[in-house]
Amino acid sequence: MKHIKTINNGVLKNSVNKPGCKECANSCQSACKTSCTVANLECESK
Protein backbone atom coordinates (compact mmCIF):
# COMPACT_ATOMS: atom_id res chain seq x y z
CA MET A 1 0.00 0.00 0.00
CA LYS A 2 1.09 3.52 -0.74
CA HIS A 3 -0.60 5.42 2.05
CA ILE A 4 -0.83 2.88 4.87
CA LYS A 5 1.83 0.77 6.53
CA THR A 6 0.43 -1.95 8.78
CA ILE A 7 2.53 -2.61 11.88
CA ASN A 8 0.30 -5.34 13.20
CA ASN A 9 -2.57 -7.05 11.45
CA GLY A 10 -4.77 -7.66 14.47
CA VAL A 11 -3.30 -9.37 17.47
CA LEU A 12 -6.63 -9.38 19.28
CA LYS A 13 -8.80 -10.96 16.64
CA ASN A 14 -6.08 -13.51 15.86
CA SER A 15 -5.89 -14.50 19.53
CA VAL A 16 -9.51 -15.69 19.47
CA ASN A 17 -8.07 -18.95 18.16
CA LYS A 18 -5.94 -19.38 21.26
CA PRO A 19 -7.21 -21.65 24.01
CA GLY A 20 -7.74 -18.86 26.56
CA CYS A 21 -5.95 -21.01 29.10
CA LYS A 22 -5.61 -18.26 31.74
CA GLU A 23 -2.25 -19.65 32.74
CA CYS A 24 -0.64 -16.22 32.49
CA ALA A 25 0.17 -14.08 35.50
CA ASN A 26 -2.29 -11.65 36.99
CA SER A 27 -1.78 -8.07 36.10
CA CYS A 28 -0.80 -6.75 39.50
CA GLN A 29 2.05 -9.14 39.88
CA SER A 30 4.83 -7.96 37.66
CA ALA A 31 5.71 -4.63 39.10
CA CYS A 32 2.78 -2.37 39.39
CA LYS A 33 0.64 -3.26 42.38
CA THR A 34 -1.22 0.00 41.87
CA SER A 35 -2.38 -0.06 38.29
CA CYS A 36 -3.83 -2.56 35.91
CA THR A 37 -1.93 -3.05 32.69
CA VAL A 38 -3.08 -6.35 31.30
CA ALA A 39 -1.43 -5.77 27.93
CA ASN A 40 2.00 -6.02 29.58
CA LEU A 41 1.50 -9.68 30.44
CA GLU A 42 3.16 -12.44 28.53
CA CYS A 43 1.18 -15.24 26.94
CA GLU A 44 1.94 -18.68 28.40
CA SER A 45 0.45 -20.52 25.46
CA LYS A 46 2.56 -19.58 22.46
Binding site: I4, V16, K22, Q29, A31
Partner: protein
Protein backbone atom coordinates in the same frame (compact mmCIF):
# COMPACT_ATOMS: atom_id res chain seq x y z
CA UNK B 1 -15.33 4.02 19.21
CA UNK B 2 -13.89 1.73 16.54
CA UNK B 3 -10.59 3.43 15.80
CA UNK B 4 -8.20 5.66 17.67
CA UNK B 5 -5.74 7.88 15.85
CA UNK B 6 -3.01 10.16 17.13
CA UNK B 7 0.24 11.80 16.12
CA UNK B 8 3.48 11.01 17.88
CA UNK B 9 7.18 10.85 16.97
CA UNK B 10 6.32 12.38 13.60
CA UNK B 11 4.01 9.47 12.79
CA UNK B 12 0.26 9.27 12.19
CA UNK B 13 -0.77 6.19 14.13
CA UNK B 14 -4.12 4.44 13.81
CA UNK B 15 -5.28 1.71 16.16
CA UNK B 16 -8.17 -0.47 15.12
CA UNK B 17 -9.65 -0.95 18.56
CA UNK B 18 -11.42 -4.27 18.19
CA UNK B 19 -8.99 -6.20 16.00
CA UNK B 20 -5.90 -4.72 17.65
CA UNK B 21 -4.43 -3.88 14.24
CA UNK B 22 -2.00 -0.97 14.18
CA UNK B 23 -1.27 1.16 11.14
CA UNK B 24 0.97 4.09 10.30
CA UNK B 25 -0.74 6.27 7.72
CA UNK B 26 0.10 9.36 5.71
CA UNK B 27 -1.67 12.70 6.10
CA UNK B 28 -4.26 11.98 3.41
CA UNK B 29 -5.53 8.82 5.05
CA UNK B 30 -5.24 10.38 8.51
CA UNK B 31 -7.58 13.16 7.42
CA UNK B 32 -9.96 10.89 5.49
CA UNK B 33 -10.45 8.85 8.65
CA UNK B 34 -12.01 11.89 10.33
CA UNK B 35 -14.98 11.59 8.02
CA UNK B 36 -14.91 8.04 6.76
CA UNK B 37 -17.86 6.62 8.62
CA UNK B 38 -20.01 9.75 8.45
CA UNK B 39 -19.60 10.98 4.91
CA UNK B 40 -19.98 9.58 1.40
CA UNK B 41 -16.98 9.22 -0.87
CA UNK B 42 -17.91 12.38 -2.80
CA UNK B 43 -18.40 14.37 0.38
CA UNK B 44 -14.96 13.28 1.63
CA UNK B 45 -13.36 14.32 -1.65
CA UNK B 46 -15.13 17.68 -1.45
CA UNK B 47 -13.99 18.24 2.11
CA UNK B 48 -10.35 17.47 1.41
CA UNK B 49 -9.75 18.51 -2.20
CA UNK B 50 -8.22 21.83 -1.18
CA UNK B 51 -5.49 19.97 0.68
CA UNK B 52 -4.88 16.88 -1.47
CA UNK B 53 -5.32 15.86 -5.09
CA UNK B 54 -8.50 13.97 -5.94
CA UNK B 55 -6.43 10.96 -7.02
CA UNK B 56 -4.65 10.85 -3.68
CA UNK B 57 -7.93 11.00 -1.79
CA UNK B 58 -9.40 8.23 -3.96
CA UNK B 59 -6.34 6.06 -3.41
CA UNK B 60 -6.53 6.65 0.33
CA UNK B 61 -10.18 5.63 0.40
CA UNK B 62 -9.40 2.48 -1.57
CA UNK B 63 -6.70 1.48 0.86
CA UNK B 64 -9.03 2.07 3.79
CA UNK B 65 -11.70 -0.07 2.10
CA UNK B 66 -9.19 -2.83 1.53
CA UNK B 67 -8.27 -2.89 5.23
CA UNK B 68 -11.93 -2.90 6.22
CA UNK B 69 -12.43 -5.98 4.00
CA UNK B 70 -9.51 -7.66 5.71
CA UNK B 71 -10.99 -6.80 9.12
CA UNK B 72 -8.17 -4.53 10.12
CA UNK B 73 -10.04 -1.24 10.25
CA UNK B 74 -13.42 -0.22 11.66
CA UNK B 75 -13.99 -3.76 12.91
CA UNK B 76 -16.87 -4.38 15.26
CA UNK B 77 -16.49 -5.72 18.79
CA UNK B 78 -16.72 -9.49 18.48
CA UNK B 79 -15.90 -10.53 22.02
CA UNK B 80 -18.87 -9.42 24.10
CA UNK B 81 -20.67 -12.75 23.95
CA UNK B 82 -17.54 -14.66 24.91
CA UNK B 83 -17.43 -12.96 28.27
CA UNK B 84 -21.18 -12.68 28.83
CA UNK B 85 -21.70 -16.37 28.08
CA UNK B 86 -18.71 -17.48 30.11
CA UNK B 87 -20.07 -20.04 32.57
CA UNK B 88 -16.65 -21.51 33.34
CA UNK B 89 -15.62 -21.37 36.98
CA UNK B 90 -12.80 -19.06 38.00
CA UNK B 91 -9.83 -20.63 39.73
CA UNK B 92 -7.74 -18.80 42.27
CA UNK B 93 -4.21 -19.23 41.04
CA UNK B 94 -2.46 -16.14 42.30
CA UNK B 95 -2.05 -15.07 45.85
CA UNK B 96 -0.49 -12.06 47.54
CA UNK B 97 0.84 -12.97 50.96
CA UNK B 98 1.15 -10.01 53.26
CA UNK B 99 4.12 -11.51 55.06
CA UNK B 100 4.47 -8.55 57.39
CA UNK B 101 1.96 -5.88 58.33
CA UNK B 102 4.87 -3.86 59.51
CA UNK B 103 7.62 -1.85 57.93
CA UNK B 104 10.92 -0.32 58.96
CA UNK B 105 10.24 2.68 56.70
CA UNK B 106 7.66 5.45 56.82
CA UNK B 107 7.23 6.28 53.14
CA UNK B 108 4.90 9.23 52.88
CA UNK B 109 2.65 7.81 50.16
CA UNK B 110 2.20 4.30 51.55
CA UNK B 111 -1.25 2.92 50.78
CA UNK B 112 -0.70 0.34 53.51
CA UNK B 113 -0.60 3.05 56.15
CA UNK B 114 3.14 2.65 56.77
CA UNK B 115 2.88 -1.11 56.57
CA UNK B 116 0.14 -2.05 59.02
CA UNK B 117 -2.88 -1.48 56.74
CA UNK B 118 -4.61 0.61 59.43
CA UNK B 119 -4.51 -2.32 61.85
CA UNK B 120 -1.98 -3.60 64.33
CA UNK B 121 1.56 -4.50 63.34
CA UNK B 122 1.72 -8.21 62.75
CA UNK B 123 3.93 -10.81 61.09
CA UNK B 124 2.56 -13.80 59.22
CA UNK B 125 3.31 -17.11 60.91
CA UNK B 126 4.42 -20.18 58.99
CA UNK B 127 1.10 -21.84 59.91
CA UNK B 128 -0.85 -19.09 58.13
CA UNK B 129 1.51 -19.15 55.15
CA UNK B 130 1.20 -22.93 54.92
CA UNK B 131 -2.61 -22.74 55.05
CA UNK B 132 -2.51 -20.04 52.34
CA UNK B 133 -0.40 -22.27 50.08
CA UNK B 134 -2.79 -25.18 50.69
CA UNK B 135 -5.69 -22.84 49.93
CA UNK B 136 -4.30 -21.65 46.61
CA UNK B 137 -3.27 -25.12 45.46
CA UNK B 138 -6.72 -26.46 46.32
CA UNK B 139 -8.54 -23.59 44.61
CA UNK B 140 -6.32 -23.47 41.52
CA UNK B 141 -8.32 -26.28 39.92
CA UNK B 142 -7.09 -27.06 36.43
CA UNK B 143 -4.55 -24.25 36.36
CA UNK B 144 -0.94 -25.39 36.29
CA UNK B 145 0.79 -22.06 36.97
CA UNK B 146 0.41 -20.48 40.37
CA UNK B 147 1.85 -17.12 41.35
CA UNK B 148 2.76 -16.30 44.92
CA UNK B 149 3.68 -12.72 45.82
CA UNK B 150 5.58 -12.11 49.00
CA UNK B 151 4.46 -8.67 49.98
CA UNK B 152 4.00 -6.43 52.97
CA UNK B 153 4.71 -4.05 54.63
CA UNK B 154 8.26 -5.21 54.32
CA UNK B 155 8.45 -8.99 53.84
CA UNK B 156 12.14 -9.22 54.75
CA UNK B 157 11.21 -8.30 58.34
CA UNK B 158 9.93 -11.87 58.39
CA UNK B 159 12.53 -13.59 56.19
CA UNK B 160 12.69 -16.88 58.09
CA UNK B 161 8.97 -17.37 57.50
CA UNK B 162 9.40 -16.41 53.84
CA UNK B 163 11.93 -19.24 53.50
CA UNK B 164 9.70 -21.74 55.30
CA UNK B 165 6.70 -20.84 53.13
CA UNK B 166 8.73 -21.13 49.94
CA UNK B 167 10.19 -24.51 50.86
CA UNK B 168 6.72 -25.75 51.75
CA UNK B 169 5.20 -24.33 48.54
CA UNK B 170 7.92 -25.88 46.40
CA UNK B 171 7.36 -29.34 47.85
CA UNK B 172 3.56 -29.07 47.70
CA UNK B 173 3.76 -27.70 44.16
CA UNK B 174 5.74 -30.72 43.09
CA UNK B 175 3.36 -33.14 44.80
CA UNK B 176 0.36 -31.52 43.15
CA UNK B 177 1.96 -30.93 39.75
CA UNK B 178 1.78 -27.14 40.03
CA UNK B 179 4.37 -24.70 38.78
CA UNK B 180 4.59 -22.12 41.56
CA UNK B 181 6.41 -18.87 40.84
CA UNK B 182 7.39 -16.39 43.50
CA UNK B 183 7.78 -12.63 43.43
CA UNK B 184 9.06 -10.57 46.32
CA UNK B 185 8.66 -6.81 46.71
CA UNK B 186 11.14 -5.22 49.08
CA UNK B 187 12.32 -1.80 50.16
CA UNK B 188 15.87 -3.23 49.92
CA UNK B 189 17.01 -2.00 53.35
CA UNK B 190 17.48 -5.51 54.73
CA UNK B 191 19.19 -7.08 51.72
CA UNK B 192 22.47 -8.84 52.46
CA UNK B 193 24.43 -11.44 50.52
CA UNK B 194 22.60 -14.38 52.02
CA UNK B 195 19.18 -12.91 51.28
CA UNK B 196 20.26 -11.77 47.81
CA UNK B 197 21.40 -15.30 46.96
CA UNK B 198 18.19 -16.77 48.30
CA UNK B 199 16.04 -14.32 46.33
CA UNK B 200 18.00 -14.89 43.14
CA UNK B 201 17.66 -18.63 43.43
CA UNK B 202 14.02 -18.81 44.44
CA UNK B 203 12.13 -15.80 43.09
CA UNK B 204 10.89 -15.56 39.53
CA UNK B 205 10.79 -11.81 39.99
CA UNK B 206 12.07 -9.34 42.53
CA UNK B 207 10.69 -5.81 42.81
CA UNK B 208 13.14 -3.39 44.40
CA UNK B 209 11.71 -0.09 45.57
CA UNK B 210 13.57 3.16 44.95
CA UNK B 211 12.12 6.40 43.61
CA UNK B 212 15.05 7.59 41.51
CA UNK B 213 17.30 10.53 42.28
CA UNK B 214 18.56 10.83 45.85
CA UNK B 215 16.71 14.05 46.67
CA UNK B 216 13.45 12.65 45.30
CA UNK B 217 13.81 9.31 47.09
CA UNK B 218 14.91 10.83 50.38
CA UNK B 219 12.00 13.23 50.63
CA UNK B 220 9.54 10.35 50.57
CA UNK B 221 11.17 7.00 51.33
CA UNK B 222 12.28 7.71 54.86
CA UNK B 223 12.98 5.88 58.11
CA UNK B 224 11.09 6.38 61.36
CA UNK B 225 13.59 9.09 62.34
CA UNK B 226 12.90 10.94 59.09
CA UNK B 227 16.25 10.14 57.47
CA UNK B 228 16.40 9.20 53.80
CA UNK B 229 17.19 5.70 52.57
CA UNK B 230 18.96 6.31 49.27
CA UNK B 231 22.56 5.87 50.40
CA UNK B 232 21.64 2.64 52.17
CA UNK B 233 19.48 1.03 49.49
CA UNK B 234 21.18 2.04 46.25
CA UNK B 235 24.30 -0.11 46.81
CA UNK B 236 22.15 -3.02 47.96
CA UNK B 237 19.85 -2.79 44.95
CA UNK B 238 22.88 -2.65 42.65
CA UNK B 239 24.32 -5.73 44.31
CA UNK B 240 21.03 -7.59 43.96
CA UNK B 241 20.81 -6.71 40.27
CA UNK B 242 24.49 -7.53 39.64
CA UNK B 243 24.05 -10.94 41.21
CA UNK B 244 20.70 -11.56 39.54
CA UNK B 245 20.86 -14.38 37.03
CA UNK B 246 20.71 -12.78 33.60
CA UNK B 247 17.67 -14.80 32.50
CA UNK B 248 15.66 -13.87 35.54
CA UNK B 249 13.42 -10.90 35.97
CA UNK B 250 13.74 -7.97 38.34
CA UNK B 251 12.24 -4.51 38.51
CA UNK B 252 13.68 -1.41 40.03
CA UNK B 253 10.42 0.25 40.92
CA UNK B 254 9.59 3.72 42.08
CA UNK B 255 6.64 6.00 42.42
CA UNK B 256 6.27 9.55 41.20
CA UNK B 257 4.12 12.08 43.01
CA UNK B 258 3.00 15.68 42.73
CA UNK B 259 6.44 16.55 44.15
CA UNK B 260 8.44 15.10 41.24
CA UNK B 261 6.41 15.75 38.15
CA UNK B 262 9.76 15.78 36.33
CA UNK B 263 9.92 12.00 36.85
CA UNK B 264 11.51 11.53 33.41
CA UNK B 265 14.72 12.52 35.19
CA UNK B 266 14.24 9.73 37.72
CA UNK B 267 13.70 7.08 35.05
CA UNK B 268 16.78 8.25 33.16
CA UNK B 269 18.76 8.46 36.37
CA UNK B 270 17.99 4.81 37.11
CA UNK B 271 18.79 3.82 33.53
CA UNK B 272 22.11 5.65 33.76
CA UNK B 273 22.87 3.81 36.99
CA UNK B 274 22.81 0.68 34.84
CA UNK B 275 19.36 -0.74 35.52
CA UNK B 276 17.64 -2.35 32.55
CA UNK B 277 14.20 -3.06 34.01
CA UNK B 278 12.61 0.06 35.42
CA UNK B 279 9.17 0.98 36.56
CA UNK B 280 8.27 4.46 37.77
CA UNK B 281 4.57 4.62 38.43
CA UNK B 282 2.08 7.33 39.31
CA UNK B 283 1.17 7.57 42.97
CA UNK B 284 -2.43 6.72 43.74
CA UNK B 285 -3.72 8.90 46.56
CA UNK B 286 -6.98 10.68 47.22
CA UNK B 287 -7.09 14.35 46.23
CA UNK B 288 -6.65 15.78 49.71
CA UNK B 289 -3.20 14.19 50.14
CA UNK B 290 -0.42 16.71 49.40
CA UNK B 291 1.47 14.17 47.27
CA UNK B 292 -1.55 13.19 45.16
CA UNK B 293 -1.61 13.79 41.43
CA UNK B 294 -4.12 16.39 40.28
CA UNK B 295 -5.80 16.82 36.94
CA UNK B 296 -3.76 20.00 36.47
CA UNK B 297 -0.58 17.87 36.58
CA UNK B 298 -1.60 15.94 33.49
CA UNK B 299 0.03 18.17 30.84
CA UNK B 300 3.39 17.90 32.59
CA UNK B 301 3.01 14.15 33.14
CA UNK B 302 2.22 13.68 29.44
CA UNK B 303 5.22 15.78 28.46
CA UNK B 304 7.41 13.52 30.62
CA UNK B 305 6.01 10.39 28.96
CA UNK B 306 6.66 11.96 25.54
CA UNK B 307 10.26 12.76 26.47
CA UNK B 308 10.71 9.25 27.76
CA UNK B 309 9.32 7.85 24.51
CA UNK B 310 11.82 9.83 22.45
CA UNK B 311 14.69 8.84 24.72
CA UNK B 312 13.83 5.14 24.66
CA UNK B 313 13.70 5.24 20.86
CA UNK B 314 17.05 7.03 20.77
CA UNK B 315 18.71 4.63 23.19
CA UNK B 316 17.23 1.59 21.47
CA UNK B 317 18.81 2.70 18.20
CA UNK B 318 22.12 3.13 20.01
CA UNK B 319 21.91 -0.34 21.54
CA UNK B 320 21.25 1.07 25.02
CA UNK B 321 17.69 -0.11 25.41
CA UNK B 322 16.11 -0.35 28.83
CA UNK B 323 12.68 -1.66 29.64
CA UNK B 324 10.17 0.77 31.08
CA UNK B 325 7.44 -1.39 32.55
CA UNK B 326 4.49 0.72 31.52
CA UNK B 327 5.69 0.89 27.91
CA UNK B 328 6.43 -2.84 27.73
CA UNK B 329 3.52 -3.78 25.54
CA UNK B 330 4.12 -6.50 23.03
CA UNK B 331 2.06 -5.23 20.10
CA UNK B 332 2.59 -8.48 18.22
CA UNK B 333 1.67 -10.72 21.12
CA UNK B 334 0.76 -10.25 24.73
CA UNK B 335 -2.17 -11.90 26.40
CA UNK B 336 -5.05 -13.32 24.38
CA UNK B 337 -8.41 -11.63 24.15
CA UNK B 338 -9.89 -13.99 26.77
CA UNK B 339 -7.48 -12.60 29.31
CA UNK B 340 -7.94 -9.02 28.20
CA UNK B 341 -11.68 -9.10 28.69
CA UNK B 342 -11.63 -10.78 32.08
CA UNK B 343 -10.27 -7.86 34.09
CA UNK B 344 -7.35 -7.79 36.46
CA UNK B 345 -8.35 -11.03 38.18
CA UNK B 346 -8.69 -9.56 41.67
CA UNK B 347 -11.24 -11.35 43.79
CA UNK B 348 -11.72 -14.34 41.50
CA UNK B 349 -8.31 -15.38 40.20
CA UNK B 350 -6.13 -13.42 42.58
CA UNK B 351 -6.54 -12.75 46.30
CA UNK B 352 -4.51 -11.26 49.13
CA UNK B 353 -3.97 -12.89 52.51
CA UNK B 354 -3.22 -10.95 55.70
CA UNK B 355 -0.89 -12.13 58.50
CA UNK B 356 -3.86 -13.65 60.35
CA UNK B 357 -5.09 -15.47 57.24
CA UNK B 358 -7.96 -13.20 56.21
CA UNK B 359 -8.63 -13.15 52.48
CA UNK B 360 -9.36 -9.99 50.45
CA UNK B 361 -9.85 -9.47 46.69
CA UNK B 362 -6.38 -7.90 46.47
CA UNK B 363 -3.77 -6.22 48.62
CA UNK B 364 -5.40 -2.83 48.12
CA UNK B 365 -8.68 -3.91 49.73
CA UNK B 366 -6.96 -5.27 52.82
CA UNK B 367 -8.42 -3.77 55.98
CA UNK B 368 -11.80 -2.91 54.40
CA UNK B 369 -14.18 -5.29 56.20
CA UNK B 370 -16.79 -4.99 53.48
CA UNK B 371 -14.46 -6.88 51.18
CA UNK B 372 -13.29 -9.59 53.57
CA UNK B 373 -13.85 -12.82 51.67
CA UNK B 374 -12.94 -15.42 54.30
CA UNK B 375 -9.92 -16.91 56.01
CA UNK B 376 -7.42 -19.47 54.78
CA UNK B 377 -8.21 -21.75 57.75
CA UNK B 378 -11.88 -21.86 56.79
CA UNK B 379 -10.81 -22.78 53.28
CA UNK B 380 -13.85 -21.19 51.64
CA UNK B 381 -14.46 -17.73 50.30
CA UNK B 382 -17.46 -15.48 49.94
CA UNK B 383 -18.60 -16.40 46.43
CA UNK B 384 -20.75 -13.27 46.12
CA UNK B 385 -17.71 -11.02 46.34
CA UNK B 386 -15.88 -13.29 43.94
CA UNK B 387 -18.77 -13.12 41.48
CA UNK B 388 -19.00 -9.35 41.78
CA UNK B 389 -15.34 -9.05 40.81
CA UNK B 390 -15.59 -11.62 38.03
CA UNK B 391 -18.46 -9.59 36.58
CA UNK B 392 -16.48 -6.37 36.95
CA UNK B 393 -15.20 -6.64 33.37
CA UNK B 394 -15.24 -4.04 30.61
CA UNK B 395 -18.66 -5.04 29.28
CA UNK B 396 -20.13 -4.07 32.63
CA UNK B 397 -18.20 -0.79 32.74
CA UNK B 398 -20.08 1.73 30.57
CA UNK B 399 -17.21 4.20 30.35
CA UNK B 400 -14.82 1.47 29.17
CA UNK B 401 -17.12 0.54 26.31
CA UNK B 402 -16.55 3.98 24.83
CA UNK B 403 -12.80 3.84 25.36
CA UNK B 404 -10.29 2.76 22.73
CA UNK B 405 -7.81 1.47 25.33
CA UNK B 406 -10.12 -1.08 26.95
CA UNK B 407 -8.24 -4.13 25.64
CA UNK B 408 -4.95 -2.79 26.99
CA UNK B 409 -5.97 -2.06 30.59
CA UNK B 410 -8.92 -4.44 30.86
CA UNK B 411 -10.96 -1.92 32.80
CA UNK B 412 -8.30 -0.67 35.16
CA UNK B 413 -7.55 -1.36 38.78
CA UNK B 414 -10.70 -2.35 40.67
CA UNK B 415 -9.31 -0.95 43.92
CA UNK B 416 -8.55 2.43 42.37
CA UNK B 417 -12.01 2.48 40.80
CA UNK B 418 -13.61 1.71 44.15
CA UNK B 419 -11.50 4.12 46.17
CA UNK B 420 -12.07 7.06 43.86
CA UNK B 421 -15.63 6.51 42.67
CA UNK B 422 -17.14 4.10 45.20
CA UNK B 423 -17.82 1.57 42.45
CA UNK B 424 -15.49 -0.97 40.86
CA UNK B 425 -17.40 -0.48 37.60
CA UNK B 426 -16.63 3.21 37.38
CA UNK B 427 -13.07 3.97 36.27
CA UNK B 428 -10.63 6.21 38.12
CA UNK B 429 -10.41 8.96 35.52
CA UNK B 430 -6.94 10.29 36.21
CA UNK B 431 -5.61 6.74 36.01
CA UNK B 432 -7.40 6.27 32.68
CA UNK B 433 -5.89 9.43 31.24
CA UNK B 434 -2.37 8.32 32.12
CA UNK B 435 -2.99 4.76 31.01
CA UNK B 436 -4.13 5.90 27.56
CA UNK B 437 -1.13 8.15 27.21
CA UNK B 438 1.24 5.31 28.10
CA UNK B 439 -0.37 2.94 25.62
CA UNK B 440 0.00 5.59 22.92
CA UNK B 441 3.67 6.01 23.80
CA UNK B 442 4.28 2.25 23.89
CA UNK B 443 2.76 1.81 20.44
CA UNK B 444 4.61 4.85 19.07
CA UNK B 445 7.91 3.31 20.18
CA UNK B 446 7.12 0.07 18.38
CA UNK B 447 5.95 1.92 15.27
CA UNK B 448 9.02 4.14 15.18
CA UNK B 449 11.46 1.29 15.71
CA UNK B 450 9.75 -0.77 13.04
CA UNK B 451 10.50 1.97 10.49
CA UNK B 452 14.05 0.74 10.13
Amino acid sequence: MKIHKYKQCGLNIVIDVNSGAIHVVDDVVYDILDFYEEKSKDEIINSLKERYSIDEIKEGIEEIESLINEKMLFTEDMYKNIVLNDENPSFIKAICLNIAHDCNLRCKYCFASEGNYHGKSELMSFEVGKAAIDFVIKNSGIRHNIEVDLFGGEPLLNFETVKQIIEYAKSEGEKNNKNIRFTITTNATLLNDEIIDYIDKNMGNVVLSIDGRQNVNDKIRIRRDGSGTYSDIMPKIKRMVEKRHKDKQYYVRGTFTHENLDFYEDVIFLADEGFKEISIEPVVLLDEHPLSLKEGDIPQIFEQYDKLTDEIIKRSKEGRYFKFYHFAIDVNGGPCIYKRISGCGAGHEYVAVTPNGDIYPCHQFVGNDKFKMGNVFEGVINRNISKEFKNGHIYNKPKCLDCWARFYCSGGCQANNYNFTGDIHNPYELGCMMMKKRVECAIAIKAKLSEE
